[in-house]
Symmetry: C2
Subunit: 409 residues, 2 copies
Amino acid sequence: MFSIIDGGITAPKGFKATGRHIGIKKVKKDMSLIVSDVPAIAAGVYTKSLVKAAHILWDREITKNGGTVKGIVAISGNANACTGQKGIKDNQKMAEHFAKCLGVKKEEILTAATGIIGLDMPMDTILKGIDETYPYLSNKREDAINAASGIITTDTFIKEMALKLDICGKQVTIGGMAKGSGMIHPNMATVLSFITTDINISKELLQKALYESVKDTYNMISVDGATSTNDMALVIANKMAGNPEITEEDEFYEEFKNALCFMNEKFAKDVVHDGEGASKLMEVEITGAATENDARLLAKSIVNDILVKTALYGEDANWGRILAAMGGSGAYFDPQKLNISLESDGGKVSLMENGEPVKFNENKALAVLAEKDIFVKIQLFDGNYSAKSWGCDLGHEYVRINGEYRSRT
Amino acid sequence: MFSIIDGGITAPKGFKATGRHIGIKKVKKDMSLIVSDVPAIAAGVYTKSLVKAAHILWDREITKNGGTVKGIVAISGNANACTGQKGIKDNQKMAEHFAKCLGVKKEEILTAATGIIGLDMPMDTILKGIDETYPYLSNKREDAINAASGIITTDTFIKEMALKLDICGKQVTIGGMAKGSGMIHPNMATVLSFITTDINISKELLQKALYESVKDTYNMISVDGATSTNDMALVIANKMAGNPEITEEDEFYEEFKNALCFMNEKFAKDVVHDGEGASKLMEVEITGAATENDARLLAKSIVNDILVKTALYGEDANWGRILAAMGGSGAYFDPQKLNISLESDGGKVSLMENGEPVKFNENKALAVLAEKDIFVKIQLFDGNYSAKSWGCDLGHEYVRINGEYRSRT
């Protein structure tokens, strides 16, 4: 069992971080640095978009084939995406420069960027920024917050967390920070997630635990259905907790994976809550699907559906749109025998039972939908698989933010 | 070569139609009848949604396995979807009743419905309505318009057309009517398309021509990405033009297919133009794709993308969102060497060349995007396949219409 503790990215033993304003953005913090005192192993999960930012290519190579890592340099305000060969070289320069500051090889530095795409990185600003920022690296609570602040773009709040758990009598700590939010063009809704931990685990299982946790969390959210060029989740582990190395999928692996899932689920929900212009969050739960793939496809089809999203905004108990989204998802289910209900702090209302619409009380439905967090529960009777997904509504504020003239912002 | 003539569903030889208000809706016409003087062959293409309205199951059986047909009965205001076994029986009763009026078998009658889902059809109203409507069947221009009016729901204009072409010295005529529009819940954006023709063609080739035309037209549009439970395109052919039967994919088949494509493309664009709350139409053209599937996937991913749709609404030349939609589509293309440009009556502006962003003139881009019809042209250099898709913007009016309280409408 894990428990939540106060802290962020610097909570685990042997990690320092900081975040500062270096001049990529006008005023807000725009650079974050993270280092491990000792060489750490790293795992990553990356965007599946065919159009990948330079840092995705760099980090993917390192987490796949590289050795240990010492640190991460992340900037916000410029995505270094769609910047061609120059972007790839600039990214390498950024890694190289931070590596030199730390006295390590450039292949020991992971990179990240989020912000405007199609714009070359301001390299003078960035290299000077690294020089000025790295002396501030510390394991203080404040610097974890600074680091979490340095990666956000249009996010309205920072996203960070720390967890501790016991592995063979040793305290293992996990610290994380993330950013999401929507996409004031020409930005895109990049999700960046950074996790540090002092656990001792094999590289293979670290990668597996991260992959499993991302599959059930970040991959099951939708703000606008878009896949960013820059999306990435990284975890680095430096073994300083001193637990015996986890090399099998035993109970300790499961405990660690559960903690990772918990943290990434929290961040994923935070990202949805903070989606630009979002006023409501829906959690969709599919149970009783015939296969895992059906469960996931159905859950995602609902949070991605424009009509469901506008109905949520309008506090409209529109089972027809939910059913239509499921019907068009490509997943199998038997429409003759499903139940659909809505729940929130305002109560519960059943919309369909055994595939037939229920004559529900409109006022009761309105009371449920008047809340901010809405749970959509769908019971199928086709099998034993289940899945959850999270999404937000689509209302006037979303259109206002995303429909503004790019040239006028 | 075909040419456009004045007329609608009754233009071809031997077809009569009419449309009337029978009382399903409050005021507007809500029943359309179409008959052929002589038995006709029929072809259909139906929604791929797992949740299918009763008429879809009925018509699919007839066009797949049945013999000739004599008529079509269509109602609007009630979708007869999600109505279980009762809906299936009610649909059959509707067919049976119209068949009795015409003195034919119920299996010679195709059916259609569009409107509110999950509500039993008002059978007394419908049966009485058929009795009162069928005496008005005629081939007058006015009754084609009445028929086109009887199928629309929230459409703001009727969609109809007639074409003539010469096949071996005989004049062949094609008449059509369609409905689309968006979805004031609990309705859904049903697309219904009915085409009559006096051509003499084999049933197999009639089906093939319809399928090909739907693939490139209705299947390439997006108002909100939703797949309706009721979508359907039917064509019935009664051979009265007297041309020698088309039994091969020869030049005459191609001419007929081209005319069908032209008509369905017109209707498909009309549906997008008439999408609820739409203020702009985009036509996306992909050229140079590696495969047909890539071309189609890429074209559809752009018109379906919420961020592209809001950018279009905001008259924002946001190439980043276009590229991101393409990157996340699952289709292959080489992002290092594509061109993206926008065109309209307001001019032309290039946004990307050889995979690199172009520093374009913002005023020029605004002039292009200020128009109502915007052409998005994307040149790939990966192969020889191309595809077109059509979609609309997503703005405040869309949210207003689709986000209203269902219970308050």
